[in-house]
């Protein structure tokens, strides 16, 4: 059997935690090999070791049978290893070509950068793998899915043979995910080998040949994907049975908590992102907002939370007009917000977890008094959230947020927002990057909010999640409300059509 990558007995400890504890991982040539594990299991750490970003404490790495020492990403490049990071590393006001050749610019007469021939080559590679990118487009003008293809091209341009994808689908729309799966299949058929980190078992089932599971830094096993099922993989990963279905009591719908009336909001591109939009959310319900990404969801959420100015229209919370209230007052009057981008909005990455857990309440007792912080109270609050939301890190409340794994950062934010005990919780992609066990738990907590007579406004690109959790579903398209349906009386098909902009009754 020919292995292109052999990682043997890899160990890496961080202060307070062993992220990789004697892990063994082998990649065959031409396979798609999934790497599965709970949040904080050590997947990203293992791949960062393979890519030379982190040095292991011990262990052996062999590439194509030869033992190597990957001391930095340049060495990885030379060995034909490429990596697409979960958060892309692109220069926004550069073109695609400029981004791709950054660091190895082809020279004309040894002096001038030869953009033209580079663009030509990028075009060829792009066509070969069905990537479909325009070499001259600027990064800031293209979608997230396209940016990811640029990252893929970056690897291919450098002749990478071993491709690492760290949670590539977390930021993609369902359509883009399908595309990506196709691209990955193309890549292996051209002889590349792929390592895929994902929490979505469906995706593993769809493309992967084998799957290696790690749990709390330890190697659990490797299975053939064809001869196993999702439940089995989930069990290996968390060590218990997982229920994919959400238990929900019948709904007890109450008064209106939040209503928006005739809202007009500008998008980043300075055109109307939300058009004459009206919606109300009741106590005791989870209202799902479904739609293709970029159809007004962000504008709606930011208008309600106060992050974006409203051009016209009104927003009422518990009957009072909050349209022009500052953000802090809105939070105090009962709005909590799980933001879409955990690292941009949700966390101060250089603060410890405990400091992050009081981001909205640091200036209220008991967390501070007369302008002086109360570290003991802050610590207690953080410990409570860490405990109930299972936020894993090496150093508990003192861990710097940046050092947490992506999923654990997300869990910390969700915990903080639910602990605010808001009247309405605005949850945008709340389970992005979470493992199935954590998703199960977070869903349970969201339903608990509803059962306690609070409301949840759930914005998600995943139809499954929307259908499973919501009582009612609002469908948006192009900044307009297409319609609202009861979750129990609809199906994916109907919602899909409405997401495409067809109103009820308009269909033939």
């Amino acid at each position: 059997m020919e292995y292109v990558v052999e990682m043997q007995n890899i160990r890496k400890a961080f202060p307070g935690i062993v992220a990789n504890d004697n892990i063994t991982f082998n990649l065959k040539k031409g396979e798609i090999h999934a790497l599965l594990g709970e949040n904080g299991a050590g997947k990203s750490t293992l791949m960062s070791i393979l890519f030379g970003l982190i040095q292991p404490d011990s262990g052996v790495i062999k590439i194509r049978g030869k033992e190597v020492k990957i001391s930095n990403p340049n060495v990885a490049n030379d060995l034909g290893i490429g990596m697409v990071h979960q958060h892309f590393k692109l220069v926004h006001n550069f073109t695609i070509t400029e981004n791709i050749i950054l660091g190895l610019e082809p020279k004309k007469a040894k002096l001038f950068v030869d953009i033209k021939s580079a663009a030509q080559r990028i075009k060829e590679v792009s066509e070969k793998y069905g990537l479909n990118v325009d070499p001259y487009a600027k990064i800031e003008d293209i979608s997230v899915g396209m940016q990811q293809r640029v990252e893929i091209l970056k690897m291919l341009y450098r002749n990478a043979e071993i491709l690492i994808f760290d949670e590539p689908t977390a930021v993609l729309t369902p359509q883009e995910i399908t595309e990506l799966m196709k691209i990955m299949k193309n890549l292996v058929s051209e002889g590349k080998s792929i390592i895929l980190i994902t929490h979505k078992l469906k995706e593993i089932k769809a493309v992967a040949d084998r799957c290696t599971v790690i749990r709390r830094g330890k190697y659990i096993g490797t299975v053939n994907v064809a001869s196993t099922d999702e439940a089995e993989m989930a069990r290996m990963m968390v060590g218990r049975e997982i229920s994919f279905k959400v238990d929900k009591k019948p709904q007890e719908k109450g008064d209106v908590i939040l209503s928006v009336e005739n809202l007009n909001v500008l998008s980043n591109k300075k055109v109307l992102g939300l058009k004459n939009f009206s919606l109300s959310v009741h106590r005791g319900e989870i209202l799902g907002v479904a739609g293709v990404e970029g159809n007004g969801q962000a504008e709606l959420v930011e208008a309600i939370t106060g992050l974006r100015r409203v051009e016209s229209g009104k927003i009422f919370l518990n009957g009072t007009d909050i349209t022009n209230l500052p953000i802090k007052k809105r939070i105090r009057s009962g709005i909590a917000h799980i933001p879409e981008d955990r690292q941009k909005r949700g966390l101060v990455l250089d603060y410890s977890i405990e400091d992050n857990m009081v981001l909205e309440i640091y200036d209220t007792p008991p967390y501070s008094k007369n302008g002086i912080l109360n570290p003991a109270a802050i610590r207690k609050h953080a410990e409570k959230i860490i405990e109930s939301f299972d936020v894993r890190s090496g150093k508990g409340p003192e861990a710097i947020a940046r050092s947490l794994s992506g999923g654990n950062q997300q869990k910390a934010i969700i915990g903080r927002e639910i602990e605010l005990d808001p009247d309405i919780l605005i949850a945008v992609q709340p389970t992005r990057g979470l493992d199935v066990g954590s998703i199960e738990y977070i869903h349970k907590r969201l339903v608990e909010q509803r059962d306690a007579g609070k409301a949840v406004l759930l914005v998600s690109l995943e139809l499954d999640e929307i259908m499973n959790l919501s009582d009612r579903i609002a469908i948006v398209n192009n900044g307009e409300l297409i319609g609202i349906v009861n979750a129990s009386e609809t199906d994916e098909n109907e919602i899909g059509l409405m997401m495409a902009g067809l109103r009820k009754g308009e269909r033939a």
Partner: protein, 376 residues
């Protein structure tokens, strides 16, 4: 530098984590101390090489720098007096850095603080116990007001504080250039102010005589109080929490309802007040009058002091005293050995270089640690 955070194009800057790339996790203070000490060591080694290169003995060179700064009480007093304005400007830079701003405007703020102190000292006549507080307050206020301008421009129009800061440095320079000769001219010279009267000077008799007539003055005690106070504000108060949140991640601060604009302006004002105090400590403390046509280098040195002190108040205190020692010892070294005093500046420059590129030293420490473990 941390102010990158505030540029519009920062998505990927903040995003560089997850996979461990640039996971710049700050690993407790003592590691930072080691880095700073190594930077100093490298600086001193580099200085030794320069001295060797010009055919001088580095051991005698360093001996005379040290004895020049510490030999007797007078020299120790002078070292501390030299360090005093650096403590203030270092604190100013550090405070700004910690809150995501780059206060390159410290020289201008220092000039305005000095100008206000000088003006007060030469116009009012109060008993000393009132006069000194009034002067210190005046210097703080004028420094703070001067720093409002870049703060406001940054908050309202996203004008980078480095650009407006540099412009304001020169504005302050020319204001001093005009006001001092016009209103506060010395008896004979056009280029400096009249002498500061004794009851308005931070140099007080008992302290000077305690240190055998050195330049040491009350500014040092004010500076130490400022160090403690700033450390307290940054680490223990709601104000510090807000300021740092805005500095580290203004998007998250905004999300949490913390006013970004208010905090940017406030942060610049506090940094400006500290630089203003540096002006008082220098012009009515260390010196006995105000010269025109000089941009105070202490304003810029504050940035270096802050870097070496790892942007922490107590680090700044230590770094400022160390730089004070080099500055006050270099003259003596030159007198005794003919080694040019510029060697000391070169040493400082090398230290700055190594502390600004501390990532290099950290890598080295990492590699060393791994090798040690491998050998076991």
């Amino acid at each position: 530098m941390s102010n990158l955070e505030n540029k519009p194009n920062n998505q990927e800057m903040e995003g560089l984590t997850e996979t461990g790339k640039i996971k710049k996790v700050r690993i407790k203070g003592n590691r930072n101390l080691v880095v700073s000490l190594l930077a100093i060591l490298f600086g001193l080694i580099a200085g030794a090489i320069y001295m060797l290169a010009i055919g001088k003995n580095p051991i005698t060179g360093y001996y005379f720098i040290l004895s020049g700064g510490l030999k007797n009480l007078e020299r120790i007093g002078n070292t501390l007096a030299t360090a005093t304005p650096l403590i203030f400007t270092g604190l100013s830079a550090a405070f700004a850095f910690r809150t995501g701003l780059f206060n390159i405007g410290a020289p201008g703020q220092m000039l305005m603080g000095g100008l206000c102190s000088t003006a007060l000292a030469l116009t009012l006549n109060l008993p000393q116990y009132l006069f000194l507080p009034v002067i210190l307050l005046g210097s703080m206020l004028s420094g703070a007001l001067w720093a409002i301008v870049p703060g406001f421009l940054k908050a309202k129009f996203n004008v980078h504080e480095v650009v407006s800061g540099i412009m304001l440095n020169w504005t302050a320079y020319w204001i001093v250039y005009y006001i001092i000769p016009t209103y506060f001219k010395a008896e004979y010279l056009e280029t400096e102010s009249a002498m500061i009267p004794a009851n308005a000077s931070l140099k007080v008799g008992w302290l000077s005589s305690l240190f055998q007539g050195s330049f040491i003055n009350l500014g040092l005690f004010v500076a130490i109080v400022a160090v403690v106070l700033i450390a307290f504000i940054l680490d223990k108060t709601v104000l510090g929490y807000e300021l740092k949140s805005v500095g580290y991640n203004r998007h998250a601060a905004e999300y949490a309802g913390i006013s970004v604009n208010k905090n940017i302006i406030l942060s610049m004002m506090i940094a400006g007040a500290l630089s203003g105090l540096a002006g008082a400590a220098f012009y009515v403390g260390y010196a006995s009058n105000m010269q025109i046509g000089v941009m105070p280098s202490q304003g810029f040195d504050g940035i270096a002091v802050s870097l070496l002190g790892n942007n922490t108040p107590y680090g700044v205190l230590g770094a400022a005293i160390f730089f004070g020692l080099l500055h006050s010892g270099k003259g003596f070294m030159n007198a005794m050995t003919k080694i040019p005093p510029e060697i000391a500046d070169t040493i400082i420059a090398t230290i700055i270089y190594f502390s600004a590129t501390s990532i290099f030293i950290e890598r080295m420490l990492d590699a060393l640690k791994r090798r040690k473990r491998g050998a076991k």
